[in-house]
Symmetry: C2
Subunit: 308 residues, 2 copies
């Protein structure tokens, strides 16, 4: 695998659900030939129609080439001759292991197998592979066609460098993990924040909608510009994070000690569901997705204009 | 206090540091007369010069009226006749209590005392006041002149409603807490996320800069559009949060159990400081603030354009 897009060999998508459709939009937009396979024929048959609006949205952010989307009739047809297989199967270790065995049997020995897994570890998935050194974790973030982040993990520095060049050439922002970690980085940060958001609902501090508003109109807005570490650096004044830690480190540790540890039990399920219903105000998940994506496009265009 | 801006009586700012300057920009932009006082003469003397660029930035987002900024020579001069006193003193309970006693002695009985406190509780601050019912927590979020969020707490529903109308009329997005909580909402969400971000640094998963990049190019970008609860709602597919909780609630609880509990000890201080230095790449705190503010302005303009 060469890192960038000089290698025009096809890429394969295995698993054509929400994540697979997002990848199909990204890969075809770069002008690549994409061979998609899904064991569920209806899901594969609807793929082209689901990819089209994603490409339309992406066009507002970057040049979108025609590419080529081939619906493969078998796994063998999809992965044979592919430079890279982007796997988007269910998050079950046994499913992934069986799938990787099938892919290895059908693909060229040099083909990179990139897993979109959000929850599984590279070392668990690689365990039964005949050529584990070709396995890459390449986890995108929803909505896959718009959000730049791709979290990469492989113990092989050469594959990591190549993968970084490949996803960068697609317009993505890869972040390499030095050590594997369940949930990678972004999923863990999101889980940590949501745990406290759930705790605040449980404690009756504010409604689901108001807690979301506090995030979107406060730190969320700021985190679209600068990360958490840099935010505390700026919170330290001219002396930066060193001053922050010297003066406010102890109070931050005391704050951490008060953070909640809620359970997602039946009562919490009801409170969250009712609260989200109120926040959605009759808008369906599809409508909320469309709103989110339209806003993301505008925000990403604006970020580019700003001094970074 | 009438809720909106019909009452043109002056507002007072007590404490003219970073937060006070932000409020001065916001209040004067609404055309109000602002009387500012700070026990440190140099801080007061520099206030006008520090407010000017904040008003210039704000002008890119909303009409900015001239207003009037008066540097008061005493606390009595600042708060006498004010409809509302926005207090931005150091986060020490004894300091706030003494200050509130002095304000109560000098202000009209009906004057609202609004505290910008990020860490203290209403009930602790109100304890020694002669008219505690006029105390309001009104916590802004840095940078105060740009970030819409203002977290409000008072046990008095009438004062809460009036305060909500007042800060809304200033162009802010107030969020009312039903119950007081140390750190309110946004500070707790930020603390929860940062705790995990610090843990990932400690575990060597990625650099400070890469963890910040994963946030800014991933969930941070999304949280500028939709909150955490709504994000998990969309993560549940067409069935929304109820489906998410039914299918992925248990795995979310398992993820929560793996989140880190780092200490901000000397070793961590060094790692964070070195990592932030690397991320800042020679840019000073002032330069990073200017970049942040320029980007925030563009993002907020873009959000308005998008379907919300």
């Amino acid at each position: 695998m060469t890192g960038g897009l000089d290698d025009r060999a096809p890429v394969a998508i295995v698993g054509a659900g929400l994540i697979g459709a997002g990848w199909a939009a990204v890969f075809t937009a770069a002008g690549l030939e994409v061979r998609a396979f899904d064991p569920e024929p209806a899901r594969l048959a609807s793929l082209r129609a689901r990819v089209r609006p994603l490409r339309t949205a992406l066009k507002k952010l970057q040049p979108v080439r025609r590419g080529r989307l081939v619906l493969a009739t078998s796994l063998v047809e999809a992965v044979g001759g592919a430079r890279l297989v982007q796997e988007n199967a269910p998050e079950k270790l046994a499913v992934k292991r069986a799938l990787f065995a099938a892919i290895e049997a059908a693909a060229d020995p040099a083909t990179v197998i990139a897993s979109s897994t959000s929850a599984l570890l590279w070392s668990d998935m690689a365990l039964e592979m005949s050529r584990p050194e070709r396995l890459l974790v390449a986890h995108p973030f929803n909505p896959v066609h718009l959000i730049p982040l791709v979290e990469l993990f492989t113990p092989d520095p050469a594959l990591a460098a190549h993968a970084e060049a490949f996803y960068t050439a697609l317009g993505k922002r890869p972040v390499r993990l030095r050590r594997e970690m369940p949930g990678h980085i972004a999923g863990r940060l999101a889980a940590a924040l949501w745990r406290e958001a759930v705790h605040l609902v449980g404690e009756g501090v504010a409604s689901v909608a108001d807690i979301d508003a506090a995030l979107v109109e406060g730190p969320g807005l700021r985190w679209a510009v600068q990360g958490a570490h840099l935010s505390y650096h700026l919170g330290g004044g001219a002396g930066g994070i060193a001053d922050y830690l010297d003066h406010l480190g102890p109070s931050q540790e005391r704050r951490w000690a008060t953070l909640g540890q809620p359970r997602l039990d039946g009562e919490m399920r009801d409170r969250l569901t009712e609260g989200v219903d109120e926040e959605a105000g009759g808008r369906s998940v599809a409508e909320l997705e469309a709103e989110r994506d339209a806003a993301l496009v505008e925000l990403m265009r604006a970020r580019r204009k700003a001094v970074r």
